[in-house]
């Protein structure tokens, strides 16, 4: 170690801030020139820009930050990154309050309000700490064992108690005031991580000309280079990192994304990235999202995610002040904060020894170095330099200190115990490569004995893994590997040649060694019953004992262990716990770690907020909001709207003096039946069909015949699915020799289009026919009622004869209106009255509605909404959505005779199955209550009169019902076994929700004008 350079790198602060007693030196990632303020549990503290909440708390000497999940044990800060299991806090207040935020990644801003969670009444005195005494209750599988009986106690007694006692933070109770965004990115090479491997990779790939995106989850680039004292090209590593980032930033083919976590690797080179755009600000800037979800499509990906350090399991290893050794170095070197004054370093590898060096340089007294390995020259040299007693082949057998560690009980190589006062224990059990992204496609990692960790095995050609993530534990190795990966990835995308040598990498002025000899835990027979709990998973309070118990109870598979003990669950997903848990399970089972296996990770690698996943798709924008052409006009009319699929449609048009919607709907129906009304039916699907084979094609998709439909006529058609059930219905008009226009139901506009394309492209590709959806091109308005012809005569250009003789029922024509404007006119009727549907180019829809109101006024015209439309179609027995529900056949709908026997069509063969034409099937009928005012409810069951209301006697159901002002009674459509043969019978109508049984007469489903005189008028 070059002491001179070390001191340059670690200049003491000019003046130690009295409010931050643990801020000892100049950290490379904070700006001590500026002071900002924050509160934690109501107390004010100061910090500096660049601090995380965790570093700021440590700078202020705050060690106790939370209570554990089950036992409410005092907990501090374990790590310095996203793997943090303990330091979960609530940030902010009011609508922006967010629970379970990791203090180690929460960037501090001036005015931040943070509070601890899962404690009552206060953090220092927590009444539920008694849970610790109840620990036998909370052992492995406690959910399954303890609260088994009686079952009725679960909801009322057990669960509320557990929820209260074992819990995390509170979500905001108000709506989220911030907005969230989604973005797409494309590149040749995506690099995940900006440590030495990632930076070397980015440089190599970018200089070759490839488009590079470099994602760093942290606010600052550099990765571990900010946490370690290491010289690259004779300058501090973090300095080299910043210079490299600046070089990359200047290149037009490089995009650097900080605060951006690549949380998922999906298929086909697609990656999910969670960008914390303004989490580091008190409130987002105007028009700035809080967070952004990126989908990045990359041809090649380099995983340079580094590693996650794991603790060693020993009794009472969870006290505040017991931290990961690498995290301690992060706080010292990056933030200039020492997490304690008297430190014990406990390690099973050389990397952990660095913490002694760095702490010592920052003025911390090293009171002991506990090395689980036999004595080595390296450890002796460091012990000598830091003036620390070295305990080789030793372990920590216990600790003391309730709200923070005050002493370590060290058991030396001969088994002798030595109690040493301390306020910090820096622990390193070795590093686990952060391989989560490499396993998202199901590739299991393999265990590497040399580094005692799992390394990736993926052989996918679009992914490279470099540095610690690949199990390469030195900085120089990471740089070399990263450069090679960047070079090769770019070559895979056609930039440079893979065979040419990769770019040179900078020199590392330090010999790094790792030399891990695993010591997974410090338990022995003596540390059995009397010793304190030894935690494997801090977040879930899973102890060594729980793991052992689970194994003894037969949960020997790693997957079972996880589910039974909850090891590795919750916000940290066991990032610091999983491998220790595995090692412990392996030992209990008497197996090796590879034999024991490991669980795979799924996306996301880190918590992603629901707000980000939802993005802008909430409230009104949750789904597309489609407005018919007359929407603005209808709004001016005071219409009440209803959602019809994605469409907003006018439901009815209230007028002054009408007190209920029923008044309005009755008036609309009566006006149509006696005079004239109009209704926007643009939402019905419209498909333009052209080609010499158009008629042949219609023959094959509809059940009925189409060859003989003349030009200028429309016909009702029914479509089946291939399984023989009804799919959709509507009218199709022939406008020219090879030109048809089909209408579909509103709901099925998309599916019918898809179906036609399937039939054409996949079944009969030789047919010469083409389709295009014209739903949005035409505004279509139904004009219905005895005076509809009179109204249309005011609009349709005079050369078109609208008389019954020349433009009769089911006529269709291309016409002009208003002096030459193109339009289409169809004489169709859903209401059963003399009626037309007039289509004009969509942008004339609004004008048409206003015009109809004006020219129709002398005839008493009214607009009518979907409710009146529905009443009139029920009065006429026309099936709609409730009848075409996917479970009914043509036979059920009373259209069995429409099925042509002279041609093949979709669904023909399956529709002829005996069970689908059985007269015993529920078939369309009409119903009238014996007393006109008795409500009939859709969904009610139909039963033989006098039979018990049980499923055994169920004979059918009501599908649609309405009050009919024309009939002067409630009426309904329904399906009844043998229905058509039972007209006149009185039947019981059972509504199990209201628990009512009423009686109704079975009648024809056509209630109004069964002879069809009106529509032919």
């Amino acid at each position: 170690m070059n002491t001179h350079k070390f001191m340059q790198d670690h200049a003491p602060l000019p003046m130690t801030s009295p409010t931050q007693p643990m801020r000892m030196i100049q950290g490379n990632g904070v700006d001590v020139g500026k002071t900002i303020h924050f509160t934690f549990d109501g107390r004010s503290y100061t910090a500096h820009p660049g601090d995380t909440l965790a570093s700021a708390l440590l700078a202020n000497g705050v060690r106790l930050v939370g209570r554990s999940f089950k036992y409410h044990r005092p907990r501090g800060i374990l790590s310095a990154g996203p793997e943090e299991p303990n330091a979960l806090v609530e940030l902010r207040t009011g609508a922006r309050r967010e629970p379970n935020t990791r203090a180690t990644v929460a960037e501090l801003f001036d005015g931040l309000t943070a509070s601890s969670q899962n404690r009552w009444p206060t953090l220092a005195f927590d009444a539920l700490g008694i849970n610790g005494a109840l620990s036998p209750v909370f052992t492995a599988g406690f959910y399954y064992k303890t609260f088994m009986w009686p079952a009725s106690f679960w909801e009322k007694i057990y669960e509320p108690i557990i929820r209260r006692a074992a819990g995390l933070g509170r979500a905001a109770e108000e709506a989220d005031p911030d907005c969230y965004e989604k973005s797409n990115g494309f590149c040749d090479v995506l690099i995940v991580g900006s440590g030495p491997a990632g930076l070397a990779a980015a440089l190599a790939a970018a200089t070759s000309g490839a488009r590079v995106i470099l994602c760093e989850q942290d606010s600052l680039p550099g990765g571990r280079l900010r946490a370690e004292n290491i010289l690259i090209d004779h300058q501090p590593g973090w300095n080299w990192a910043e210079a490299t980032i600046n070089r990359l930033r200047a290149m037009p083919n490089v995009r650097i994304m900080t605060r951006s976590c690549v949380f998922a690797r999906y298929d086909g080179g697609t990656y999910g990235v969670f960008e914390r755009v303004s989490d580091h600000l008190a409130t987002p800037q105007p028009d700035q999202p809080r967070q952004r979800l990126w989908r990045i499509v990359a041809r090649q990906c380099i995983v340079a995610t580094g590693g996650i350090e794991r603790p060693i399991v020993f009794p009472n290893n969870d006290r505040p002040g017991i931290m990961l050794a690498g995290a301690v170095r992060t706080y010292v070197n990056r933030f200039g904060v020492v997490p304690g004054r008297r430190a014990v370093v406990y390690t099973n590898n050389d990397d952990g020894l660095r913490s002694a060096t760095d702490l010592h340089a920052a003025g911390v007294q090293i009171v002991a170095i506990v090395d689980s390995r036999p004595s080595s020259a390296h450890a002796q040299a460091i012990a000598q330099r830091t003036g620390a007693p070295l305990f080789p082949s030793a372990r920590i057998a216990d600790t003391s200190g309730y709200r923070g560690v005050t002493a370590a009980l060290i058991r030396d190589s001969e088994g002798k115990d030595c109690r040493i006062a301390c306020d910090l224990i820096a622990v390193s059990g070795g590093w686990n490569p952060d391989i989560a992204l490499t396993t998202h496609h199901g590739k299991r990692p393999s265990y590497n004995d040399e580094i005692a960790a799992f390394i990736p095995t993926s052989d996918e050609e679009d992914m490279h893994v470099s540095g610690v993530a690949a199990g390469t534990m030195t900085t120089s190795g990471a740089l070399t590997e990263g450069a090679l990966a960047g070079h090769q990835a770019a070559a895979c995308c056609g930039f440079g040649k893979a065979s040419s040598p990769p770019p040179a990498v900078p020199s590392v002025d330090q010999d790094e060694s790792y030399g891990i000899v695993p010591q997974w835990h410090a338990m022995d027979a003596e540390s059995g019953r009397r010793a304190g709990r030894a935690f494997i998973d801090f977040q879930n309070d899973v102890t060594a004992k729980d793991t052992k118990l689970a194994a003894q109870e037969g949960f020997r598979s790693v997957e079972h262990l996880k589910r039974y003990t909850t090891l590795g669950m919750a916000t940290d997903q066991g990032k610091t716990a999983n491998v220790n848990g595995l090692a412990f399970l392996a030992e209990v089972n008497g197996q090796s770690i590879p034999q024991t296996g490991t669980t795979l990770t799924r996306p996301p690698t880190q918590p992603v907020t629901l707000g980000t996943l939802a993005g802008p798709h909430r409230g009104l924008h949750f789904k597309p909001h489609r407005l018919p052409p007359t929407h603005q006009w209808a709004t001016e009319q005071g219409a009440v709207f209803t959602a019809n699929g994605l469409w907003q449609r006018a439901q009815w048009y209230p007028r002054v003096g009408e007190t209920t919607w029923q008044d309005t709907v009755n008036r609309e129906v009566n006006t149509v039946r006696s005079a004239v009304g109009f209704c926007d039916v643009t939402t019905l699907g419209k498909i333009d069909i052209q080609g010499p084979d158009a008629a042949n094609f219609l023959e094959r998709v509809y059940v009925n015949a189409w060859q003989k439909l003349p030009i200028g006529r429309a016909r009702y058609g029914l479509m089946l699915r291939e399984d023989g059930f009804a799919f959709d219905d509507g009218t199709t008009a022939r406008l020219g020799e090879n030109h048809y226009v089909m209408t579909t139901t509103t709901a099925n506009a998309g599916p019918v289009m898809q179906h036609l394309e399937f039939c054409h492209q996949c079944l009969w590709p030789d047919m010469d026919v083409q389709f295009i959806s014209v739903t949005d091109e035409w505004a279509q308005i139904a004009v219905a009622g005895p005076r509809s012809r009179d109204v249309l005569r005011q609009i349709v250009d005079p050369q078109y004869d609208l008389s019954n003789e020349s433009f009769g029922y089911m006529a269709a024509a291309t016409i002009t209106v208003c002096g030459g404007q193109p339009a289409r006119l169809f004489r169709l009727s859903f209401s059963g009255e003399l009626a037309y549907e007039l289509a004009v180019p969509a942008h004339y829809g609004d004008a048409l509605a206003r015009l109809l109101m004006r020219v129709g006024a002398p005839y008493g015209i009214t607009p009518y909404g979907t409710e009146a439309l529905g009443v009139m179609r029920i009065e006429k027995g026309h099936p709609a959505g409730p009848e075409l529900n996917g479970q009914t056949t043509a036979h059920d709908l009373g259209m069995g005779r429409m099925l042509s026997t002279k041609k093949d069509f979709i669904g023909r063969t399956m529709a002829t199955r005996a069970a689908l034409t059985d007269p015993g099937r529920p078939t369309l009928i009409g119903l009238r209550p014996l007393v006109a005012g008795t409500t009939l409810d859709a969904g009610a069951h139909l039963l033989p009169k006098g039979s018990p209301a049980t499923a055994a006697f169920d004979q059918g159901w009501i599908s649609s019902s309405a009050w009919s002002p024309t009939v002067g009674s409630w009426i309904a459509l329904g399906f009844l076994s043998n229905g058509p043969a039972r007209h006149g019978e009185i039947i019981a109508v059972h509504n199990p929700l209201a628990d009512t049984v009423t009686e109704a007469e079975i009648v024809s489903p056509v209630f109004v004008d069964p002879e069809g005189k009106r529509l032919h008028a």
Partner: protein
Amino acid sequence: MRLNCPHCGERSLEEFTYRGDATLRRPAADASAKSWVDYVYLRDNPAGRHEEYWYHGAGCRAWLVVDRDTTTHRVHSVRAAGSTSENTRLNHEHA
């Protein structure tokens, strides 16, 4: 997931709708009940390469036959379902 549509180029998953086995052939109207039941209801669930229909509904509306490995999700090829006759005709028109 991405599919390389022969008409539109490489596009993202949400532009497409899955339908299923593209190797099934619609039986003749007078084919046996068994062959119709097979066609309408019975599906294999192969592990490995599989030809399946995808609909490019948010693009060119082409039905595509995607040769995809169900175990690795690797897409081996994408072609238009009606390609034989369709492409022949289009090529003919262009020529």
